[in-house]
């Protein structure tokens, strides 16, 4: 019999990749939406910015749906604990995702209330990544769990300073994704503003990264022997350095890739701090939900591995194809 641990580790990695894919892709459209008032002055400029994400945001969000499905399939105990335990926060996530989704369409088709839908679009886009960051911060920092694997905290347990810091860090990274996406897709005055935003956000992200890594190192002394963590730090700062220079040189495309690289670094740091835990118990380490005590059976993990390892390369292939269809600078008349 094959070793189930290998598949549990594989699924930790695969879910990590799915959530990273979500963060990078939906990250840029959520981030750009939050920056809408700063990047776009006139309605036409805002239309152009929204047009740049119109054809792709829907597909980006499927990374979340699939990541959630994969968590359910591989580690149902963690899925059940987190989703029911963080119930009210999850309802706010849903509210945010509903409004940011529908308000793109409503804004375009309901001119009388376009301003209102724009606010809903911006608000939903800001709230979602903030809450995802806070949720991630909680499962890493630890929450009280009971002996039945159930969450034993309240709503305000989720809002402790460390998880909140994770949320703000995530939001800052998402904003940087958005600003660099805008650099890639706009020109002229709007691009100038995008460069400026990207520059400021690079500095903010660099400061926050230093603090975040320091916090992680203090909270998890075991990270001092973890090569992946050092690699994560290097990748993050390599990305931020690349950003610093490419923004100064007014390069169109490099900032987006550099921002993505630094985001990958942050994710890797979080992942290396978390492995092999899924939900850390703050009250008793023995109560933590790990990949070993929360997973489905080996047969399910194997079947799912086949589906994911065959299916995801195909998904990535046609996703790249569609991004190429819509490559180039965005145009307000192009869409809607």
């Amino acid at each position: 019999m094959e070793n189930i641990q290998n598949f549990q580790i594989l699924w930790f990695v695969l879910i990590f990749i799915l959530l990273l894919g979500y963060a990078l892709l939906d990250g840029f459209d959520l981030g750009m939406a939050v920056l809408l008032p700063f990047l776009g002055g006139t309605k036409e400029e805002k239309d152009t910015l929204i047009a740049s994400i119109g054809p792709v945001w829907d597909g980006n969000e499927v990374w979340l749906v699939t990541g959630g499905g994969a968590l359910f399939a591989a580690f149902p105990q963690a899925y059940a604990t987190a989703f029911s335990g963080f119930y009210s926060a999850m309802m706010l996530v849903l509210l945010a995702l509903i409004f940011r989704g529908v308000s793109i369409k409503f804004r375009a088709n309901d001119p009388a209330r376009a301003g209102l839908w724009e606010k809903a679009f911006i608000g939903g886009s800001a709230l979602a990544p903030l809450l995802f960051g806070v949720a991630l911060g909680n499962v890493i920092y630890g929450v009280p769990l009971d002996g039945r694997m159930e969450y034993a905290g309240g709503f305000f347990t989720l809002l402790r300073p460390v998880p909140l810091w994770f949320g703000i860090t995530g939001l800052a990274a998402v904003l940087l994704q958005g600003a660099t996406w805008a650099v890639l897709k706009t020109q002229g005055e709007m691009q100038k503003r995008s460069f400026r935003a990207a520059g400021i956000l690079t500095v903010i992200n660099a400061v926050m990264a230093v603090i975040s890594f320091a916090v992680l190192a203090v909270l998890f002394p075991r990270l001092s022997g973890n090569t992946l963590f050092y690699l994560a730090v290097v990748i993050t700062f390599a990305g931020l350095t690349g950003l610093f220079f490419s923004v100064r040189k007014k390069n169109d495309a490099v900032p987006f890739w550099a921002s993505s690289l630094s985001f990958i670094g942050l994710f890797l740091a979080a992942g290396s701090a978390q492995f092999p835990n899924l939900i850390t118990a703050s009250n008793d380490p023995n109560l933590s939900l790990t990949i070993y005590n929360s997973s489905t059976g080996i047969y399910t993990l194997q079947v799912m591995a086949v589906i994911a390892l065959v299916g995801m390369p195909i998904v990535i292939g046609y996703t790249i194809f569609v991004y190429r269809v819509f490559k180039g600078k965005a145009n307000a008349d192009d869409h809607y």
Binding site: D58, Y87, I104, V322
Partner: protein, 436 residues
Amino acid sequence: MDALILARIQFALTIGFHFLFPAMTLGIALVILISETLYLVKKDEVYRRITDFFARMLGLIFVIGAVTGIVMEFSFGTNWSQYSRTVGDIFGPILAAEGVIAFFLESVFVGVLIFGRKRVSPGVYWMSALLVFLGGHFSAFWIIVANSWMQTPAGYEINAAGKVILSSFFEAVFNPSTVARFLHTVLATWITGAVMVSGIAGYYVVKGLHGEAARAMLKLGIILFAVTPLLQLGAAHSHAIQVIDMQPVKAAAMEGHFQTTRGANIYVLGYVDEDKEKTYGIYIPKGLSFLYNFDFNSEIKGLKDVPKENWPPVNLVFQSYHIMVALGGIFIVLGLLGAWLLWTGKIYTTRWYLWLLPFLIPLPHLAHETGWITAEVGRQPWIIYGLMKTAAASSVVVSAGQLIFSLVMFTLVYLLLFVMFVLLLVKIIKQGPEAS
């Protein structure tokens, strides 16, 4: 009210609302695929205008379907965590497969369909229409698999800890009700599309709008409207037989059938008194037995074969089922009438029929909602038929207070979405298939 009831109300509300949109998505995706194929073959601009019109509409429908779909995926964890813990081995992979195999495909290519007309060749555009059609139907397939497994579980074992363990993925996916339920549900979505297209086109023709495009749309809609309810008659019949075989308690509730008998009646309409255990109404003697296997004296199991605590709410199931069946009959008659009018060339001048068509648009939705109530309420008190009770499935840490908050939130938000959807749909219909 206790948390369990609130969780069930919330699930019924959110799934009932969500269902409206995928049903339209699949129906409209079929219409788009047909009209874009005609455009590719005939090179007639009229079909391009029809495709573009429905692609605009699909953009609105799809986004509401997508955002309300995420709610459903979250709900198994948020509201039904005990269920998720028990069946993660089987239910999880089905939802994950839906994402990888289906939802990605649909969502990525819907972008090309709505925004890519000028950016890709006609061949690639047609391919996108095909992939959206396939992605949507694959998606429906996996969701139907998930539901069918709850109705007729297969391919599993139960371990010492009481958890359900997958033993055969193939048997779980192709459990005994998957194929029949999939065909029945997909045809329901095609009828939804057919009626929607016919209704919109009927309105245009009677108002003298959009000339040739409206007539082509009407023809396309009416052909689908004539064919799909007839196909549904066959699919629905085989699904009903499968329910009688595999879920006799649900089947008995659908007809208010209490005593196991040879020569069971079938009701045209009626009322079930659950306390007195009697069903009143107009019936065809021995009709149910006859339809089951064309033998007037075949045996049909009654509700009293199982303890009353394992009965679903009988009258609700009975009424839902009969509304659905009646609507199916109306669709067959009106679809065939439309085909006859089209055949004889009278359709474009038969004003009463054209006027009637737009008013039919909500009816397929009523049919699939009542059908869904029949399937889901008919399964009660089980969440997995014969295996796990609904009462044991809900989240233990979610309080009634939290549920009241979320239920109020979904009620208000979905009301807003519904109002906006109708307003914007009407706006798109008023713009019509313009020559651009």
